[in-house]
């Protein structure tokens, strides 16, 4: 297994109360697999992605285990971690406009990780950078160009070239297509999936855009208030969501050819909970159209919900024998309250 994430939690120290940005997240990712993580702003998806390589500021406290190739990165020394960063696991950042240094040429910036990690000469690094630019569809002769001389799409291509620079085994793409128009977005996503499939790289893609993830990723996880609420194959997750939040999220997208969705936009009342004041129960319960009374105080976690699927909703439990929860019990509690 390339990447095993077990019970990862991240707390930000903010004044008196800690903000729980990520809570008890577990998932696996194998080489050559693609996993998308969806969620709205503030759901903790970027924090989760950055916590894997311990890129968060000092105010963030990380617990749990991140095993990369069997090595626990949460325990690794800083020197070891820096070697892993980029050489084996690289990051494509959101906003290519600002993720490139404006005063250094793109060639210099692509060569930087190669020179840092591969210990090759300047000439070899230059050749490799040319190959990389070529593979992402930017003319190799543009190595001397500065970021402001490139278009948004080209800059994002450069970012992808940089991510591939040291032949990593895992790429974490944090909203790689925000701020790009849909045409360029489709090109970039196509490029990314193509390169990842060709090299057998594991891809972890973060986005708030379900359609982007559905198109790019084999599996998808939905995050809400720092927890994974549903995990499963992308197609099934969208067409047959098992968690009410996923259902609301996927129905929020208008469907082409379905006038009903256009006439009756499916919204969701309320706001996500404050990460500093989380109740014991399901964090989605206050907004959930199908919540039981028990949802408010019974802790939820991912439960198996069909073949290769998991959902953090009490509603999936009756299907599974041997678990201590059932709709009957819920009804009983509801009746009693």
């Amino acid at each position: 297994m390339l990447l095993q994430v077990r019970d990862v939690s991240v707390r930000y120290r903010t004044g008196e109360q800690d903000a729980h940005a990520v809570r008890q997240v577990s998932f696996d990712l194998d080489a050559g697999q693609t996993l998308g993580i969806a969620g709205e702003s503030g759901s903790g998806k970027s924090t989760l992605a950055l916590s894997l390589l311990r890129l968060l500021p000092d105010t963030a406290l990380i617990s749990g285990a991140v095993r990369f190739d069997g090595e626990d990165l949460t325990e690794a020394s800083w020197g070891r971690l820096r070697a892993v960063r980029w050489a084996q696991a690289s990051v494509v950042f959101q906003g290519a406009m600002s993720a490139l240094n404006p005063v250094r040429s793109i060639g210099q910036q692509i060569r930087e990780p190669i020179l840092l990690h591969d210990r090759v000469g300047e000439k070899a690094a230059r050749a490799r950078a040319a190959d990389l630019l070529d593979s992402v569809g930017v003319p190799a002769g543009r190595q001397g160009a500065y970021p402001h001389e490139l278009s948004g799409g080209q800059r994002q291509r450069v970012m992808i070239a940089m991510a591939l620079a040291c032949r990593p085994r895992l790429i974490i793409a944090d909203e790689p297509t925000t701020a790009l128009d849909v045409i360029v977005q489709a090109q970039i996503l196509g490029l990314l999936t193509e390169l990842v499939a060709a090299a057998g790289i594991g891809l972890l893609m973060i986005s708030h855009d379900l359609s982007v993830l559905a198109e790019t990723c084999q599996r998808m996880a939905v995050m809400y208030a720092g927890q994974l609420v549903e995990l499963g194959p992308s197609g099934q997750l969208i067409t047959d969501p098992r968690h009410p939040y996923t259902k609301a999220l996927s129905s929020a997208f208008p469907r082409i050819g379905d006038p009903a969705s256009r006439l009756a936009p499916a919204g969701l009342p309320g706001d996500p909970p404050d990460p500093r004041e989380l109740a014991a129960g399901c964090p989605f319960a206050p907004r959930c159209p199908q919540a039981y009374q028990a949802c408010l105080d019974h802790p939820v976690r991912l439960w198996p919900a069909g073949p290769d699927r998991e959902s953090a909703c009490l509603r999936v439990l009756p299907d599974q024998p041997g678990l201590d929860w059932s709709p009957a019990a819920a009804a009983a509690i509801e009746a009693g309250s």
Binding site: V91, F93, H117
Partner: protein, 273 residues
């Protein structure tokens, strides 16, 4: 910008004169035991700016004085910049206890009055060019440090620094390869302006008698002119040339500095200043 061109021309002229001085000024022209001119004589055809008490040509003295003034001014500025940039970068990059400690030290130096500190420093280290250079650097690095720290904080918050960290770059790599190039324009502007104040400080310190008396410098000339009673004897030709030279060189550096600032930061040109 005519003022910028004027500033550059002034600096160029003084630099050429200072560097070329040994070609047309000989030791015998400056040695009080070897000169043969009239004592404290007003300007004449032979001595265009008159002579000083021992009979040396004030014109040659002023030209020769540019050498030490410029050298000390530039050297002190380089020292100031290196010290200020290093401390500013480190304080901005390590924002924890070490950064705060460095800024406390900086604030402490800002609170110290510059001139008395420079005087006591050169008194402790001893008279001469080295002690003056060090004294100027020690008293003027604080402004640069604050400037660089502020800019470092702004640059460090930008995503490409996070990206550099994600690719495994260490602190040294991030500071020298990513933050420094972004701060460099500011340092350049600041240093052209610092040279002007460094030359002024140098003149002040040598005028107060902390320089090497055997060496010719503008501050030293003014000091000697006062000591030898040029004011009471109305010897304006002894006082004016070094004074005007200081004024013109400082003006040259200031004009050039402002021009560099406008070029590197076009937003400033909108403001009339």
């Amino acid at each position: 910008m005519p003022s910028a061109i004027a500033g550059c021309l002034v600096l160029l002229a003084f630099t050429v004169l200072a560097l070329g001085a040994p070609l047309f000024i000989h030791d015998s022209d400056l040695d009080v035991t070897k000169v043969s001119g009239p004592q404290l004589a007003p300007p004449s055809a032979h001595y265009l700016l008159g002579t000083d008490q021992p009979g040396r040509s004030v014109l040659l003295l002023t030209i020769w004085g540019a050498r030490s003034s410029l050298a000390i001014g530039v050297l002190a500025t380089v020292l100031t910049m290196v010290l200020g940039t290093a401390i500013g970068l480190i304080a901005g990059h390590y924002q924890g206890i070490s950064g705060r400690l460095l800024m406390t030290v900086t604030d402490w130096f800002i609170a110290l009055p510059g001139l008395p500190l420079a005087i006591s420093l050169s008194a402790v280290i001893g008279q001469g060019a080295t002690s003056i250079t060090v004294a100027i650097a020690v008293t003027s690095w604080t402004g640069t440090a604050r400037l660089v720290r502020a800019q470092t904080l702004a640059v460090a918050a930008r995503p490409f620094v996070e990206r550099a960290r994600a690719l495994g770059a260490g602190n040294a790599q991030i500071m020298t390869r990513h933050i420094l190039p972004n701060v460099a324009p500011l340092i350049l502007v600041s240093s052209t302006l610092t040279v002007a104040s460094a030359i002024l400080s140098e003149t002040t310190l040598t005028f107060l008698g902390l320089g090497n008396p055997a060496e010719v410098s503008w501050g030293g000339m003014l000091n000697q002119a006062f000591g030898q009673g040029a004011v009471t004897r109305g010897a304006w030709w002894y006082l004016l040339p070094p004074g005007l030279a200081i004024l013109i060189v400082v003006l040259g550096f200031t004009l050039t500095g402002r021009a560099v600032e406008t070029v590197l930061n076009p937003r400033l040109s909108g403001r009339s200043g």
